[in-house]
Amino acid sequence: MDKTIQTPAEAVAAIPDGATVMIGGFGGSGAPIELIHALIDHGAKHLTVVNNNAGNGHVGLAALIEQGRVDKLICSFPRSADPSVFVDCYTAGKIALEIVPQGTLAERIRAGGAGIPAFYTPTAFGTEVAEGKPIAEFDGRSYVQERWLKADVALIKGALGDAHGNMTYRMAARNFNPLMATAATTTIAQVSNIVPLGGIDPEHVITPGIFVDHLVEVANPAQEEELNRAEAVYP
């Protein structure tokens, strides 16, 4: 078993039009820029994207949106230093938006990966975000029922990876990445280093290989924040 793939282009080649794609990261931290750019080159369109944010500047997720590939975005916080790409698309009615509270977004993705079709949360009870959702009372308190969230594909970014798909992450770049790995039919990871099997201490594995389908090594990956400070534009 060897889950490694040579290039980001090969890794994303099978993503079809209309796919639901989870993209890891919180802002630029943990965003798999090279995989997103490969997806732009690949050309898949009419995507539904799940991400915490809505992109920043003109690279990564913002570039995917700017290229008109995203029909719908499911996120918690579509603001950033420069959200102009998303704002323009949204204002022009070119992209649908589903706002999900951040903890609910995380838990819905975890539930998707963990086979929990629905759960109850106190979050958003009594707010317009909960409108239309089932409400139930437990021990005298009211909760909102939320459904799992799954995807066809997850694009994630890690630090170390091995041929069986075991992975680690770098600091706060962990965020949504390990969750999304569990909730997609196909999980594609870029890692800074592919190490030999056994190169990750079993105690330090964050994502066990069972959740990862393909890994590609991207040494010295781009950081969205740095690209934006350099005013980079993709493609």
Binding site: G113, G115, I116, D162, H164, G198, P202, P208, I210, F211
Partner: protein, 229 residues
């Protein structure tokens, strides 16, 4: 009616047969006891990745006697070993793997299997102390559920039945039965015989089964190596 004493497969042979169907890289959970033997018989070039509910993936075989580390055990509380690729995780993550449908196969024992795929393997329903462990999670969520079992009980009663009379572990979950006499798929709420030991006539196999056996194409000979350790 033929005497099956000498023609039925041993547990090791049943486990061997089940092992032949496991694909390279498949994620597999082996139930406590007899199903654990499957790990011994993986064919060359077909290396499954084993999962144990208590939080270990991709572990190695049992250590030599005296080399056990009792913090490194499987769900049957037997000592296992590390190998390159092993990972540890807590119980909620472990059952996220199970419940989330990430296992390709779970291999379990059975008291009874019904033709609709219902499985009874956790309680005889006769009193005593109930103990379910992880079986109820596994049977509802792994992609395929294989049962390893004697074809009949020690008393000679069928274990493959029309409807389970013992308390259920899961409903409509079993996909294939490796019995001591046959390999039988469960499809559309029917038992479909794929293989049988060569020396048992189909009529006798039917007599030893509590529900109608169907065929769908040829029934091939079920032949296993004799001296399995």
């Amino acid at each position: 009616m033929i005497d099956i004493t000498d023609i039925k497969l041993s547990n090791a042979q049943i486990a061997w047969r089940a092992a032949q169907d496991i694909e390279d890289g498949a994620y597999v959970n082996l139930g406590i006891g007899f199903p654990e033997m499957v790990a011994r018989f993986q064919p060359e070039g077909k290396q499954a990745v084993f999962h144990t509910e208590n939080g270990v993936l991709d572990f190695g075989k049992a250590p030599a006697l005296g080399d056990e580390d009792w913090d490194l055990i499987n769900a049957g509380k037997k000592a296992i070993t590390l190998k390159p690729g092993t990972s540890f995780f807590h119980h909620a993550d472990s059952f996220a793997m199970v419940r989330g449908g990430h296992l390709d196969l779970a291999v379990l024992g059975a008291y009874q299997v019904a033709q609709n795929g219902d499985l009874a393997n956790w309680s005889t329903g006769k009193g005593g102390i109930p103990a379910v462990g992880g079986a109820m999670d596994l049977v509802q969520s792994a992609k395929r559920i294989a049962v390893l079992t004697d074809h009949v009980t020690k008393k000679g009663d069928p274990k493959l039945v029309e409807a389970c009379t013992m308390p259920l572990t899961g409903v409509g979950c079993v996909t294939r039965v490796y019995s001591s006499l046959a390999v039988i798929d469960i499809e559309n709420e029917h038992f479909v015989v794929r293989e049988k030991v060569p020396s048992i006539p189909m009529d006798d196999l039917q007599s030893l089964t509590g529900a109608r056996l169907h065929t769908d194409g040829p029934v091939t000979d079920l032949i296993c190596p004799k001296d399995l350790a």
